[in-house]
């Protein structure tokens, strides 16, 4: 097992996933022994292009991002998308149903030339390049990241749970929020986070996307049974799963919320 050269890159994002990497803390010395970091702008000055594994965070939001990620793809043997923005579009894609002109009007009073250029849609990396592995979550889970590095360094593939967040919620004994009328998406959402949100009093918002066999009709029914409109389920899914191709998976099954 040789020590793979790895690089970190980020596009439109909060850089929280990279921070999760820095939060490896006690595992950092081991991590640095297991891999050689040749590019990590947030933490190191060195920048080299001879990486084998590229961890890429963030959505593609500028025209230049597309070129850059294609360049990364050419150089990297393995490209790993980090986090909801890179895997799904994430919160960035909430805006995708509005025009850039409208957005600029809202935030910059209509001015945008010279200030920034923006793609009409915030998109996941997979819209532009082949992604080898995805580490889901907003943010990624630090242990899952370390497990992925361990697997890749050993020469094999990381594993991702195929099942729902409800599984993890139930295993940790969290009382179900949905049963109390809170709009929780856990039943369709992909696990791996340890169901941290319900345990800390917030509904699951499917930041890891959906599990292998989501049943959106049944989700609507579950919402209705617990006193919420079916459209609330769609509205919640817009938070992280609003990128065009992701949205198509649930849009037909659920009535769209008014006004959005």
């Amino acid at each position: 097992m040789t020590r793979p050269k790895v690089a970190f890159f980020s596009f439109g994002s909060c850089e929280g996933c990279q921070l999760q990497v820095l939060s490896a803390e006690d595992a950092l010395p081991d991590l640095l022994r297991a891999v050689e970091i040749v590019n990590f702008r947030e933490a190191v000055d060195e920048r080299r292009d001879d990486y084998e594994v590229a961890f890429v965070e963030g959505s593609l939001v500028r025209p230049a991002d597309v070129e850059q990620v294609q360049g990364i793809r050419k150089r990297a043997r393995i490209l790993v998308a980090l986090g909801a923005c890179a895997c799904l579009g994430g919160v960035n894609a909430i805006r995708n149903r509005r025009s850039v002109a409208e957005l600029a009007r809202e935030v910059y009073g209509g001015r945008r030339d010279g200030v920034f250029t923006t793609l009409p849609d915030a998109s996941p990396l997979s819209s532009a390049v082949l992604v080898d592995y995805e580490l889901r979550g907003c943010p990624i889970d630090r242990d899952e990241f370390l497990e992925a590095v361990r697997s890749l360094a050993a020469g094999t593939v990381p594993v991702t749970p195929a099942y729902a967040v409800c599984v993890e919620c139930t295993l940790r004994g969290t009382a179900c929020l949905l049963e109390r009328g809170v709009p929780c998406l856990g039943g369709v959402a992909r696990a791996g986070c340890g169901a941290v949100c319900p345990a800390y009093g917030a509904p699951c918002e499917a930041c890891r996307g959906c599990h292998d066999v989501p049943n959106f009709e049944a989700l609507g029914e579950a919402f209705a049974r617990h006193g919420m409109a079916r459209a609330v389920a769609a509205e919640k899914l817009q938070l992280f799963n609003n990128y065009r191709e992701v949205r198509e998976t649930w849009e037909r099954a659920l009535p769209s919320p008014s006004g959005t």
């Binding site: 702008r41 947030e42 933490a43 190191v44 920034f116 800390y200 009093g201």
Partner: protein, 430 residues
């Protein structure tokens, strides 16, 4: 070195987000000195619009991974102000504990990962692990402790999940608080070592007057959880009237808005500055005694405007945040039962401003919540936006003093100045 020189650093390293430093020097004069913010906006103000208000803290915290607790806190306070919710004292203590954790996390990250390499002449923390293993060990240990504080209060540090108007989705168990108490006690030596390590360092001096701003709390505490804005020029404004003090404006070379003093004062290129140094200037007399002692030891003058003094100011605040966390954990342990939720007095909504002191400075979230329970308007004023004009002005003062040096050194010195401001560009553009 000829008469012309230009320095362009694309994608500055060891800062959060994407920024380019562009400096053009001609005939010994600085012609251009811009910090280009090339990050594309994610339009968070629009993302918040039309969403149910309970989601606001969870969306807003995604503005920035490093200060997501500050964003969640500002956001939930804005929602509470709009709905007429006055959170109870223990809920405020819980949130303050989380913020203290984030300050600790952010200052340790900035000092240890981003500034220490400059200070000790290394390109990153990685080689430092070889040359200064003790310091690096302490950096990592303190960072883990900071993470543990936030995990205990809100499930995780990056994207906290427990924030709701008037209540907390989680209330730490006694055993968890006791574990924090033990961890904080054990970390005292690490904090002291930080003061010692940074006390020995010398930084350049850049002298330029600027108006410093912080949200100074009513109850006499060191600025953290927000309150009326005060400035070193003696101006003041209630949170809801922040616009009387601060004015956002657009510049050509930056996707981030800039901020200047509001009204005619903004006309003559006057700048403002927020952050550790501003808080220290305005409230150094409110520091925990240990932090005040550290300030004396570091020789930090409350009247200083040298941006590099932000480094010792952060060290002082790190001591304060640690002491504050210890105090709050003890207070929460004295009465560990969850506080009853406070219902909205104005469920039909209205306007609300939430202010906190993020590690990097004053952070303002300003919402209107409509009768449909949704966010109708949102505006976020970010510490880094408030500092950008000041940062550029300081670069213009600093650059001419470097002209006799080789280009690489000029670049490095200017980069150091940028880093001393601890800019967070993802935040600034949001």
């Amino acid at each position: 070195m000829g008469a012309r020189a230009s320095v362009t650093v694309r994608h500055l390293t060891r800062i959060e987000g994407h920024g380019n430093l562009v400096v053009e020097i001609e005939d010994g004069a600085v012609r251009r000195c811009d910090l280009e913010v090339v990050e594309s906006p994610r339009f968070f103000e629009v993302l918040l619009k039309d969403r149910p208000w309970d989601e606001a803290p969870r969306i807003a915290c995604r503005i920035c991974g490093i200060c997501s607790v500050a964003h969640a806190t500002a956001s939930v306070q804005a929602v509470e102000a709009a709905l007429g919710v006055v959170p109870g004292p223990r809920l405020r203590a819980l949130r303050r504990l989380n913020l203290a954790g984030e300050w600790l996390q952010s200052h340790v990250l900035h000092l240890g990962f981003l500034m220490a390499p400059d200070a000790f002449g290394a390109p990153s923390i990685v080689p430092l692990a070889g040359s200064h293993p003790d310091l690096v060990k302490r950096v990592l240990r303190l960072k883990r402790l900071a993470n543990e504080i936030c995990r205990t209060v809100s499930g995780r540090h990056v994207m906290p999940v427990s924030y709701h108007a008037g209540w907390s989705g989680y209330w730490p168990q006694v055993a968890e608080l006791e574990a924090l108490q033990a961890g904080l006690a054990a970390a005292r030596a690490d904090v002291a070592a930080f003061v010692a390590a940074f006390g020995a360092l010398a930084w350049p001096a850049v002298e330029r007057a600027t108006e410093q701003v912080a949200a100074v709390e009513d109850d006499g505490a060191y600025p953290m959880m927000g309150g009326p804005l005060r400035t070193t020029a003696g101006r003041a404004a209630a949170p809801s009237a922040y616009r009387e003090l601060l004015e956002e404006y657009l510049v050509e070379h930056s996707a981030s808005k800039h901020v200047r003093p509001a009204g005619e004062r903004g006309g003559g290129g006057a700048t403002i500055r927020v952050g550790a140094l501003a808080r220290y200037a305005l409230a150094h007399d409110r520091l925990h005694p240990d932090a005040a002692a550290a300030a004396r030891r570091l020789g930090l003058d409350p009247a200083t405007t040298n941006p590099f003094d932000a480094v010792p100011a952060q060290v002082v605040e790190l001591v304060h945040a640690h002491a504050e966390a210890e105090r709050l954990v003890t207070a929460l342990l004295a009465d560990p039962a969850p506080e009853a939720p406070v219902p909205p007095r104005r469920p039909q909504g209205g306007e609300g401003v939430g202010i906190v002191e993020a590690p990097r400075g004053t952070l303002i979230h300003d919402y209107r919540i409509g009768p449909d329970g949704r966010v109708a308007r949102a505006n976020c004023v970010i510490p880094t936006s408030q500092n950008l004009a000041s940062l550029e002005a300081d670069l213009r003062v600093f650059a001419p003093t470097l002209l006799d040096r080789p280009a690489a050194e000029i670049t490095h010195a200017l980069e150091m100045l940028v880093r001393a401001y601890d800019p967070c560009i993802s935040c600034a553009v949001h």
